[in-house]
């Protein structure tokens, strides 16, 4: 197992280096450079200034040369400077990363706590009223556009009822204390959770129905085990494997993809940071942000592989190590 993990970590590092080149290259193919954006915001910047600034920022160099410079510095731990935030890249990323992790861990945990039992319950009573109701709710969650759901939650709970703040973070609202911090999180977490529950419930239901059709489940039932024991002890572990795979792949998407929720709730997280960096031509920030998303997907995939082994005794990485 240890050798497997080491091998996977090495593979992941190679993927990250290749991705850094691909992302840098793709950003280089985008039209315009930071100086073009600067000119459009400031009519006082002359053509002479533009040329001087391009040379100053190294934008007159070919793309490959700029990439190699970046890579050389990155290997020594210097990931560059964010032009948009006038800070070293990590100084801009860390607070956003913290915010995103709080948001994601809360919403993912909540979504799983609700979705997994709901999916199992629906799967064990297929085509019943309960199953139809759970499916209907799941489809409603999947179909609701996140920006609409966000605005709806704000209108109801912040504007009409006035129970919760409309967005931002606790310190932006001048609040302090645990409850105050939680109050600012409730609406964005709710929006992300509602959007996530639907998908996870559907996956869990489908996977559990498939598992319950397996021969060993029939055998377990034939042995006279209770239905709860059959479902929770024998079926659940196997049924979780596809769900774990989806979760692992979702991790990276969620990390950079909570953009709409973050924008609607004025929540300064990674999704918005990466979006702003790409639109603002902030190469260093966008690159490191996207690489973090890549790394998270790879870590998620590795964790999923490790989880497979514990969920399904038939999966054993020891043979692969030999």
């Amino acid at each position: 197992m240890t050798a497997f993990i080491i091998r996977r970590v090495i593979h992941s590092l190679i993927v990250i280096v290749v991705m850094s080149f691909v992302i840098y290259g793709l950003m280089g193919l985008m039209p315009g450079d930071p100086i073009d954006l600067m000119i459009s915001a400031d009519p006082n910047v002359t053509a002479e200034d533009a040329e001087r600034l391009r040379a100053f920022y190294g934008l007159d160099q070919p793309l490959w040369s700029r990439y190699l410079n970046w890579l050389g510095a990155a290997v020594q731990g210097d990931f560059g400077y964010s032009r948009l935030y006038a800070q070293p890249v990590w100084a801009a990323i860390i607070p956003a990363l913290q915010n995103t992790l709080i948001l994601l861990i809360s919403s993912l945990t909540l979504a799983l706590v609700i979705a997994l039992p709901a999916g199992i319950y629906a799967a064990t009573r297929p085509y019943s009223v309960a199953d139809y109701s759970i499916n209907l709710a799941a489809f409603a969650g999947i179909s609701m556009p996140p920006f609409w759901l966000g605005i709806l939650l704000i209108m109801v709970f912040a504007v009409v009822l006035g129970w919760l703040p409309a967005g931002g973070t606790a310190d932006a609202g001048g609040a302090s204390g645990m409850w105050e911090s939680i109050k600012f999180l409730i609406l964005p977490v709710a929006a992300l959770t509602i959007a996530g529950i639907g998908g996870h419930t559907r996956f869990m239901r489908a996977s559990m129905i498939e598992t319950l059709r397996q021969d060993y489940i029939r055998t377990a039932r034939a042995k006279g085990l209770s239905e709860n024991r059959v479902v929770l002890h024998h079926a659940l572990r196997n049924a979780l494997i596809p769900v774990v795979t989806i979760l692992a792949l979702d991790l990276g998407v969620l990390f950079s993809g909570a953009l709409i929720t973050e924008t609607v709730f004025a929540y300064p997280g990674m999704g918005k940071l990466i979006f702003d960096a790409i639109m603002g031509n902030d190469y260093n920030l966008a690159l490191v942000g996207l690489l973090l998303a890549t790394a998270l997907t790879l870590i998620g995939s590795l964790l999923a592989d490790i989880a497979y082994a514990s969920l399904d005794p038939r999966i054993n990485y020891t043979d692969m190590d030999q």
């Binding site: 600067m38 000119i39 459009s40 009519p43 100053f56 006038a86 800070q87 605005i151 609202g173 300064p268």
Partner: protein
């Protein structure tokens, strides 16, 4: 009295007292919603509206343009002019006509750490500004200063290499604290990264305005508290918080739910959103619309053979009803533009060719230009070419897309087939406009300032090309020798009356030649609580926050 009654009364008294505390707090603090966070706090590196708005609270320029559109002293004591003798004509060492301008800084002006603001700070700022590797974006103003004489701690003289009419306006020179930032400039190439404005942005020594920044959370919010060392009129609010909320629907929800007290006019809702907000909630807020210097227009690609005919350009303008657009889409809050010069500007000329909605005139001009036949309602010429254009703008800009659709239908009624072909702002400004890749019509805005000479947009030497590395902003490719001469003359003409005559001629040529179709001047919408007084929208690039000490709570 029953126990229940006592409890209810006590509860009510407690709630009322809590409410009172809440109101008192709300009025000693002001929370402003803005849509953008500054990319740097350095006054001279990069220019952006969010930074100007923030610095309005924390800093003062030497000079600025007041809400009455006059250059005034903020950090200086008297505006130098040729008449009062503080500006003197002189020759430069290489024999050109130059000017010496002497300023005196306010005697009590100090930085937030108590160190006086002096001539040494001004000289340091100039050294940074003119250094090619300091990262300062607009350096032309610094390059024009040949020398600075330090007369004393508070007095200095600029020797400028040319005599421009705005010789005494140094509003773009953001004075830097030499006692803090000089050490960071020892290696000029590293200054952009090392400057205290970004590495230590809460250092009180960086500010000399009524407030100092005490919290800065990128992308989220900033907090400002009273600057104890401020020498001017004390501001009314103990604390001002600026919350960054980019999504305008969320911004609206926040002001309705009390999360913020006001929405900045400079960085807030579009006018159509504000007009809709006024209809729904106008009775609860104080809403001011102020037309400004953001000039919405359509650049015409003059390399296009059809658009080279001035009659076609004029017909395009005659066939659209800009008054109706302004009235119906913007509640009449955004005035129709006739040239790039705003009617609030003293150089504005009213007696120039104008193009009210007139289909008869449009028809006559197009017929005369050879577009008389119509096939399925669209005009064709003798060679059976169709009168067809592409109109491009920034995709996702709701207001522009709305205007674009109205224009398209009005032009169709005139027999002109206009097709919408929008691009994301990044592509539109990064490639299509700046490299002149649009085929016919490009709709966007220019941000101007009072009496701003449109040299970069109208002079023939400012046409972007591969040879000049796509420098300049004359994207239409407009060439008119008389216009070139006027642009050069205006900048150097010191006499106001003579200059006004030149401006008149410039506007007449612009309105006749129509290198661009003027649409309207964008208005800023200030949404404020009814209890807030003293906010005076300027309509130009100097933000309302520069006069924050006049803001108060209604008595």
């Amino acid at each position: 009295m029953s126990l229940v009654r006592v409890f209810v009364m006590s509860f009510a008294v407690t709630m009322v007292s809590m409410l009172n505390i809440g109101t008192a707090n709300a009025k000693s603090e002001l929370v402003i919603g803005i849509t953008q966070y500054p990319s740097t706090f350095h006054p001279n590196i990069d220019s952006m509206l969010a930074k100007s708005y923030v610095h309005g609270l924390t800093r003062r320029p030497v000079t600025a343009m007041s809400a009455d559109w006059e250059t005034v002293c903020l950090l200086c004591t008297k505006l130098p002019t040729l008449e009062n003798g503080d500006a003197v004509l002189e020759m430069t060492p290489d024999g050109k006509e130059g000017i010496a301008v002497t300023y005196k800084l306010h005697a009590e002006a100090v930085w937030g750490d108590g160190v006086p603001v002096t001539s040494d700070d001004v000289i340091f700022t100039w050294e940074v500004g003119k250094h090619p590797k300091s990262g300062v974006s607009a350096a032309e103003g610094y390059r024009r200063i040949l020398k600075i004489d330090r007369v004393n701690d508070k007095t200095f003289t600029f020797h400028i290499d040319r005599r421009t009419f705005d010789y005494n306006n140094i509003s773009t020179l953001g004075i830097l604290p030499a006692h803090i930032d000089r050490k960071n400039f020892e290696v000029p190439e590293a200054y952009k990264i090392k400057t205290a404005f970004d590495t230590d942005p809460m250092n009180p020594g960086l500010f000399m305005g009524p407030y100092r920044m005490t919290v800065a959370k990128p992308g989220s919010h900033m907090v400002f508290e009273r600057n104890e060392k401020w020498w001017g009129k004390a501001p009314a609010f103990e604390k001002i918080t600026m919350r960054v909320i980019e999504n305008t629907s969320t911004l609206e929800a926040n002001i309705l739910s009390g999360g913020i007290d006001m929405i900045s006019g400079e960085l807030g809702l579009n006018v159509d959103q504000a007009v809709a907000f006024e209809k729904r909630h106008g009775d609860k807020f104080q809403i001011i619309f102020k037309p400004g210097l953001i000039y919405e227009h359509i650049d015409l690609m003059l390399d296009n053979p059809i658009l080279q005919d001035v009659r076609v350009r004029q017909a395009l303008l005659f066939s659209i009803d800009r008054d109706a657009i302004s009235e119906r889409l913007f509640g009449g809050k955004q005035p129709v533009a006739h040239t790039s010069i705003n009617p609030l500007d003293w150089i504005y000329a009213d007696d120039i060719p104008k193009y009210p909605f007139d289909m008869t005139k449009a028809d006559a001009l197009l017929n005369a230009a050879g577009w008389s036949k119509k096939v399925k309602g669209i005009r064709v010429n003798d060679k059976d070419e169709t009168l067809r254009f592409d109109i491009m703008t920034t995709a996702g800009n709701r207001t522009r897309e709305l205007v674009q659709q109205v224009l398209q239908s009005q032009w169709k009624a005139a027999g002109i087939d206009v097709r919408i072909n929008n691009e994301p702002a990044r592509v539109f400004f990064g490639e299509t406009v700046t490299k002149r890749k649009f085929d016919s019509l490009a709709m966007f805005a220019w941000i101007s300032s009072p009496e701003s000479v449109p040299r970069t947009t109208l002079h023939s030497d400012s046409i972007p090309s591969e040879e000049n590395n796509w420098g300049g902003q004359n994207y239409t490719g407009y060439v008119n020798p008389e216009m070139d001469a006027l642009l050069e003359q205006i900048e150097l003409e010191l006499d106001r009356d003579k200059r006004k005559a030149l401006w008149h001629r410039l506007q007449t040529i612009y309105a006749t030649d129509l290198p661009a179709l003027p649409l309207y001047f964008r208005a800023n919408s200030f949404i404020m609580p009814k209890w807030l007084t003293g906010v005076r929208p300027t309509g130009h690039q100097f933000p309302t926050t520069l006069w924050v000490e006049d803001w108060d709570v209604a008595k």
